[in-house]
Amino acid sequence: MDKKIRVLVAKPGLDGHDRGAKVVAAALRDAGMEVIYTGLHQSPESIVEAAIQEDVDVIGLSILSGAHMTIFPKVLSLLKKKNAQKIIVIGGGIIPADDMKKLKKKGVKKLFGPGAPTTEIITWLKENVKPGKKKRAQTRKKNNKGL
């Protein structure tokens, strides 16, 4: 059966600028992924809870409010607490280079700055995410059977 990359796209915090998140969500959809879009003003707790129930491979957070140094670590620690650290966390928004380095050290796998083309995000996801986790090798074999 087909295994799709499942991504939760969420917009935490107080700013209401969700255009970027929607552009990314639509691009991932067009790249064949299943995107769960949760809307504005999500708390880290509700993001993590939704990610667990939806059993996503990736959480993508869009943060433009400057609260990235609070929200990303909070999401990561909640995932750990819920024993769900296998879910990859990525993000985008206006994040200074210094902060990017710090966040990557804390476990955010990838951050995209303003102007990052959606193709770059898609390529990164396809290279770094194994949908459905463990069973990938088996799926490959099946797919190769062809006719």
């Binding site: 959809r29 299943e34 769960i36 999500q42 939704a50 129930q53 459905g132």
Partner: protein
């Protein structure tokens, strides 16, 4: 305890991570091992379907109904289906946006599903996902279809009570008399009841339902709601409960459930046979030549199909 045994126990306990993982497994695998083990523990939840055209307010209604059930200390499983693109294979699942109120409630489990090529308004695996939630101890399972047109009616094959949600813009009495969507509604909800045309639609629906064969003991209720404000939700829920009581009292509940199980067996057989035959056809060593022959009219597709069936041993 072995991990597999613990996993199974966790599902039955309703542990959210385990339930989520189980749904992923049944969604992605054509192996039914897990479902076979879960099946004996299912059958206790009551299944409610919510269907209607895109933008009718299905998700908002689900959110409001779930909130009311939660007040009564019930456990709720929600499956919300959105369409998969036939072009890219991707999907944008946005029903959670309207269910933000429920996100952190420990008695609710919400799962978004992409339709993945299924055309009946549900995903092929929606039933299996619902079975997982059922075995996990949910009292009610709310299943929301994709935004439907007239003939995506699979939901009625899964649910005990089906709600058809319309809006004042949904059409006139001729639309309501056509075969299809309205025929599967046990309860009709006219949402966005503050909009112009609402009373007219309700009147026309009543007229259309008067013309229809009424069931003894059940007159299809039409309920006006404004789901965003919670208006009319109490009534929807009391109608659902009345329908449940009606099914139980008349013995129809068992009949309905047995019909659903019969059609489930049918589906499983069809799927297995179809897959088997498809594989067989694809592995024909001379497939290309056969198609060439058919194309140039030296052979015909009818004989080829019949012979394939005969060779497979499925049809004598």
């Amino acid at each position: 305890m072995k991990p597999a045994a613990k996993f199974f126990k966790d599902i039955l306990k309703g542990d959210k991570s385990a339930v989520a993982r189980a749904i992923t497994i049944v969604e992605n695998d054509s192996d039914y091992t897990l479902l076979k083990k879960l099946f004996p523990f299912s059958g206790r939840a009551y299944y409610i379907g919510i269907t209607g055209p895109p933008g009718a307010g299905k998700s908002t209604l689900v959110n409001a109904i779930a909130k009311l059930f939660l007040k009564r200390k019930k456990r709720i499983g929600i499956i919300a289906v959105d369409p998969t693109s036939p072009f890219s294979g991707g999907a944008l699942l946005g029903d959670r946006v309207r269910m933000a109120d429920l996100a952190l409630n420990k008695n609710v489990f919400i799962r978004s599903m992409a339709s993945r090529g299924s055309l009946g308004g549900l995903a092929k695996k929606t039933k299996d996902a619902a079975l997982v939630l059922d075995a996990a101890g949910m009292d009610y399972i709310l299943i929301e279809t994709i935004g439907v047109g007239q003939v995506e009616l699979d939901i009625a094959q899964v649910c005990d009570t089906t709600l058809v949600v319309l809006v004042p813009e949904s059409g006139d009495s001729i639309q309501a008399m056509k075969a299809g969507l309205l025929e599967i509604g046990d309860i009709i909800v006219v949402n966005k009841g503050d909009r112009e045309g609402c009373e007219r639609l309700i009147m026309e629906l009543k007229f259309a339902f008067d013309l229809r064969n009424q069931l003894p003991g059940w007159s299809y209720p039409i309920v006006k709601t404004i789901a965003t404000e919670g208006y009319g939700i109490e009534q929807v829920v009391s109608r659902i409960e009345a329908h449940q009581a009606y099914l139980n009292k008349t013995g129809k509940f068992e009949v309905l459930r047995k019909e659903h199980l019969f059609s489930r067996i049918n589906e499983l057989i069809e799927e297995k046979i179809k897959n088997k035959l498809r594989r067989r056809l694809k592995s024909q060593p001379e497939l290309k030549k056969i198609i060439d022959d058919i194309y140039s009219r030296r052979r015909n597709p009818f004989d080829v199909a019949e012979n394939l069936l005969k060779d497979s041993g499925i049809v004598p």
